[in-house]
């Protein structure tokens, strides 16, 4: 039993890990039960932004019925929700509020970026008021493409999320290692948000095609 006290920082190869798992069977079982519980009762936040919200609602209706997976309890307050479905275009005016709501949710919490707009800005990417993907500010667990995604796709993304939850273990779960993840809420400035992205969760890609900042603005 004491073998399970090994520090999680030590990098283990697979055989040792299986051996340890065999020894620490109780720990992994507790994980398993816990993951079963929180995977089976993912309560989403009633949080509709744009077009995708309608398909999110449709996924809770009679034909698709998200309640079969235990997720029909749409909580209106972030304090009681586990999952935030960012359903639709996040504008720059709305982005601080989205981050704030994410901050208000208790751990463990997950985010599904639903629809092209939430992932990258989608068709409205060129707009002066559109945030180019919510993953610039908050960590996204499942990306659900589509414009808008079908309700079946919402159910599938929930299933993916449940699979992801099943692979998490308490020792390495950010929810339990870091405390509540609270990110800086961006502020309005003259033309853009400040900061323009959250470096903890997103870095601008180093693309050779992108011109350096000075050259581009010259």
């Amino acid at each position: 039993m004491t073998t399970s006290n090994t520090s999680p920082d030590i990098d283990l190869d697979n055989t040792t890990r299986t051996e340890l798992e065999r020894a620490g069977v109780i720990v992994s079982k507790v994980d398993y039960l816990y993951n079963w519980a929180r995977g089976g009762s993912v309560w989403p936040l009633t949080f509709g932004l744009a077009c995708c919200a309608i398909e999110m609602i449709a996924s809770a209706t009679s034909r698709f019925d998200i309640s079969r997976f235990g997720s029909e309890v749409f909580r209106p307050t972030p304090r009681q929700a586990d999952l935030m479905i960012v359903s639709g275009t996040v504008t720059k005016k709305m982005a601080p509020q989205v981050v704030r709501i994410f901050n208000q949710m208790p751990e463990p919490k997950w985010v599904i970026a639903m629809g092209a707009c939430a992932i990258s800005g989608g068709p409205f990417k060129q707009g002066y008021n559109v945030l180019k993907g919510i993953d610039r500010y908050i960590p996204v667990d499942v990306y659900l493409p589509g414009c808008p995604p079908r309700p079946e796709a919402v159910l599938q993304s929930l299933n993916y999320l449940q699979e992801k939850i099943r692979t998490q273990d308490i020792k390495s779960d950010p929810a339990f290692t870091k405390g509540r993840r609270q990110y800086t809420v961006p502020e309005f400035t003259g033309k853009d948000l400040e900061p323009p992205y959250n470096p903890d969760v997103w870095q601008p890609p180093t693309n050779p095609n992108v011109k350096p900042l000075e050259e581009a603005t010259a």
Binding site: W36, A37, R38, G40, S41, G70, R79, Q80, P108, R180
Partner: protein
């Protein structure tokens, strides 16, 4: 009848199984509610989360367990600036009164007979008064939660809750007064026994009126739809528990359902004959203990009646929209209160008429009291309804 002092063992025997049973029933009720609502709404409801660590669905019966485990491990957030002490106390206070009421219900579980001297530990003589005194505490808990959260929605919910629960307490008590008048005792066991001997009070006109008033007021007391204003989702987010997360929210949830059990148990005791039913005969000499076809039958009847009432509550929740706050208060003060006062008068006359022990007079009394109550109810309805009516519309070609 012996009145030996109870030992700790006796108290534990009487209470611990009760706590376990109702906690299990709570879990079952949440599942039942989700399934029943799904059925009303043409859905299937939870069916994937069954036995842990397997893929067996088992009609989604594992759902409450999953919810519970998740809630226990969920992070507990207290808002900055909130009153930490009262924020913590409120959910506990919401749970305790309901639990206490459950202990004093005349439920004849078989193990109670093993207790010393055959006296049920909590067979109070003033049980009815105790019930209402205790349930009044719930208002305090709700307001405490609303105030301590330091959230405007919570505060609104708390204020609404106080207004609503205090107002509906009056018709609730006044309709219970009928039963006390009829029986002449405040003892819950006596009330049940009286009903088993004579008739269930719901079957008489005044009893039925009182039951309806009681049930409506009970819906308001437990904040169930259509009186769920303190937690009105579409208006004030989640009302008084907007800022509660994790286990504290679970306690509120538990408290709400236990309060449903408690208030339904009261209704069953007062109007539906308690544990009376086929196969059960009440012994006049034992304090509320019955002779049953098999042990625990009367407890089964009691729980079945509770669940019948809870099913109605779920049904209403799936069907009706919510009232507005002024209509809610108007309904309590302008409709329920006059009717329940009139009902007391009617019941008083009826009781005197019944003392004459004449079948014809009894029948006439019943008919007259039915007519009076029906007329009063429809008259009050007309008076309060205002100009609200369906309208006709024009068409342009």
């Amino acid at each position: 009848m012996s009145l030996e002092p109870l030992t700790l063992t006796d108290i534990l025997i009487a209470t611990v199984p009760l706590m376990l049973i109702f906690a299990t029933l709570f879990a079952f009720t949440t599942w039942l509610e989700r399934k029943a609502l799904a059925r009303i709404q043409n859905r299937i409801g939870p069916n994937k989360v069954g036995i842990p660590c397997t893929r067996i669905g088992l009609f989604g019966l594992g759902q409450p367990a999953a919810d519970g485990i998740k809630m226990i491990f969920k992070e507990d957030i207290v808002p900055r600036g909130a009153d930490r002490l009262f924020h913590l106390l409120a959910p506990i206070l919401a749970l305790i009164p309901a639990m206490l009421v459950l202990c004093f219900l005349p439920l004849n579980f078989p193990w109670i007979k093993n207790i010393q001297g055959l006296v049920k530990p909590f067979m109070l003589d003033g049980a009815v008064i105790f019930f209402f005194a205790i349930t009044g505490l719930n208002t305090l808990a709700v307001f405490m939660a609303g105030w301590a959260s330091r959230n405007k929605y919570s505060l609104l919910g708390g204020i609404r809750a106080v207004a609503q629960m205090v107002s509906y307490e009056i018709p609730l008590v006044l309709s219970a007064v009928i039963v006390v008048m009829m029986v002449g005792s405040l003892n819950a066991a006596e009330i049940v026994k009286e009903q088993a001997d004579e008739y269930w009070f719901i079957l008489s006109p005044w009893g039925f009126t009182a039951f309806v008033i009681f049930f409506i007021a009970a819906l308001a007391e437990t904040n169930r739809s259509p009186f769920d204003l303190p937690e009105a989702e579409s208006e004030i987010i989640a009302g008084y528990f907007t800022e509660y997360s994790g286990f504290k929210f679970a306690l509120f949830f538990l408290g709400e359902y236990i309060a449903m059990f408690a208030i339904s148990g009261l209704a069953v005791t007062l109007f539906l004959g308690g544990g009376d039913g086929p196969g059960v005969t009440m012994n006049p000499e034992d304090q509320g203990l019955a002779t049953e076809a098999f042990p625990g039958l009367s407890a089964v009847w009691f729980l079945a009646k509770i669940f019948a009432l809870i099913a109605v509550m779920i049904w209403l929740r799936g069907t009706l929209p919510r009232l507005r706050v002024d209509q809610l208060m108007g309904f309590a003060w302008k409709f329920m209160l006059p009717l329940s006062i009139l009902n007391i008068l009617v019941a008083g006359f009826a009781w005197h008429a019944e003392q004459l022990d004449n079948t014809i007079i009894t029948v006439i009394t019943w008919v007259i009291s039915f007519a009076v109550l029906y007329g009063a109810a429809s008259g009050l309805n007309q008076l309060n309804r205002g100009k609200v009516r369906p309208r006709e519309y024009k068409y342009a070609e």
